[in-house]
Amino acid sequence: MSTALETHDLTVTYDKKPVLYGIDLEIPQGQLVGIIGPNGAGKSTFIKSVMGVLPVTGGWVKVFGEPLAKNITRVGYVPQRGSVDWDFPVTVMDVALQGTYGKLGMFRRVGKKERKIASEALDKVGMLDYAKRQIGNLSGGQQQRVFLARAIAQDCDLYFMDEPFVGVDAATESAIITLLQEMRAKGKTVVVVHHDLQTAPEYFDMLMLLNMRLVAFGPTSEVFTKEILQKTYGGKLTILSEIATEAAKNDLTKTHSKTP
């Protein structure tokens, strides 16, 4: 299996304080990868620095075996929903069309082809009926769907999503996960910053446990264990023991079910 993302000794500092140290990682293609870790662990920083949105202090990043700049149109970024101003005077269609700008460039005109791509993407997330609405009139879940439609319109092979499940309703959450699974079925790789430990083992093939350093990375069944979670979160999380028991149970069922 070839590699979608490779980082070597990736280090990011903010105001001379290190936020991420020496991240060595190889994410194979066609995986759903969750990034989990406590607040301030550098989860968002990791994907922002990989995408070149934040400057990297040391180390390097390769995407599909080449520097990011060479494959930039193959990589899509879905920022946190809260990072944009939802009062901005644009329509749902306008936002979906933004996804096509990666390939279209910043100066060429939007044509029929782009409109078709954007409409199909909106249709896919069930937001086509809202195409002409101003984005301010949408619910949190609908806003996230529009962001996903924009990502679909980008038509990339590797996606980075920053907390797509935050503040969305249950219906949207399951719609998103179905969508991610469809993407994976098409051989796309999706890396998702995730905060909910309860659902993490259910949603992701692989997990990346981050706390300024890379604590562990591997198939969910191997890394979602009590020891590794404790190492990632320290002792401060009260629900941790609960989760750890869950994890232990998971381990048991997985070892049982995986035995041929």
Binding site: F88, Q98, M106
Partner: protein
């Protein structure tokens, strides 16, 4: 002469000057209103304030070098110091823990103070560069400059320069519309496309400096902020579409320039101040009757809602 004819020609009766003032007012208001839309959406409304105040030391410095108030070097010096203040603001708020609003407060006031000092120490009363002009500008002074023959009319030079800058701004906005929109809405996505939002920021600041500087003489350092923000804010209240917002802001600029001429001929007051007051009137209209969330419609909705509940109460 009919009444309508009287009303229409009133500001232009007597000489060409009225026409020049109107054209000048519009050429200052138009680029300001369009750039103001992007400033408003980027939550940078006060950057215009900062730039307009900081151009003063640049103007004085250039004047001391060339000793000529109509030299284009003054424009260049002013634009450079306008750009300098935006760099200074970025520097303060990225390199220290001081936040952006405080950084703006520190940077422009200091540069303005420096400019005022330079005026009083080096320039004195010998020229047009006095503090009154700095504050509210003087539109009517454009006719004291050299003029250029155009279509058989003697057109004042500042007017031509101002229209040159307006044309430049329009071209800039046409070419960079998508870049400006995307970087205002979602700078992260734009960066992920490989376009650096910082570059876009400084490009916008450079054009803004140029516009602010050319309007400096006509409207002064303080009123230019009103021309940047009021049309944009009025348009913002009336629409949810960016292109419509830009068109409405331009219409606001035109209407307030025309209204200002009537105020000017009636009271013989400062045209720039009249323009700002007229602009505020239009803003209030947008606030009350704006099709998107005008107060009137809110009141009407509340009244209808209350009525419905009243009926429901009586029924139940």
């Amino acid at each position: 002469m009919s009444f309508i004819e009287y009303v229409l020609t009133r500001p232009f009766a007597g000489s060409d000057n009225g026409l020049w003032y109107l054209l000048m007012a519009f050429s200052v208001a138009l680029p300001c209103s369009l750039l103001g839309c992007f400033l408003l959406l980027r939550r940078m409304a006060l950057i215009g304030d900062a730039i307009s105040h900081s151009v003063l030391p640049g103007i004085v410095f250039a004047f001391l070098l060339v000793k000529d108030l109509s030299s284009p070097w003054l424009l260049i010096g002013a634009a450079l110091s306008g750009l300098f203040v935006t760099v200074l603001i970025e520097l303060i708020h990225t390199k220290t823990r001081v936040k952006q609003d405080a950084a703006i407060g520190i940077s422009f006031t200091t540069l303005f103070a420096l400019g005022v000092l330079m005026v009083s120490v080096f320039v004195g009363k010998q020229t047009d560069l006095d503090i009154d002009c700095v504050i509210s500008g003087e539109m009517t002074h454009i006719i004291y400059y050299d003029s250029v023959s155009l279509f058989g009319k003697e057109v004042p030079e500042p007017l031509l320069i101002s229209y040159g800058v307006t044309a430049l701004t329009l071209i800039f906005l046409l070419i960079f519309f998508r870049v400006l929109t995307l970087s205002s809405f979602d700078a992260g996505l734009m960066a992920s496309f490989g376009v650096n939002p910082k570059v876009v920021h400084y490009l916008l600041m450079a054009v803004l400096s140029l516009v602010v500087v050319t309007s400096f003489q006509a409207v002064g350092a303080i009123l230019v902020i009103a021309l940047l923000i009021i049309p944009a804010a009025s348009a913002y209240l009336c629409t949810h579409r960016l292109k419509v917002m830009l068109l409405l802001a331009a219409a606001h600029a035109a209407l307030s320039s025309i209204a200002a001429m009537y105020i000017y001929v009636s009271f013989n007051c400062s045209i720039s101040s009249a323009m700002v007051v007229a602009g505020l009137g239009l803003f209030c209209l947008a606030w009350l009757f704006g099709p998107v969330d005008g107060l009137i419609w809110k009141w009407k909705r509340r009244y209808l809602l209350a009525e419905t509940y009243d009926l429901a109460d009586r029924d139940g």
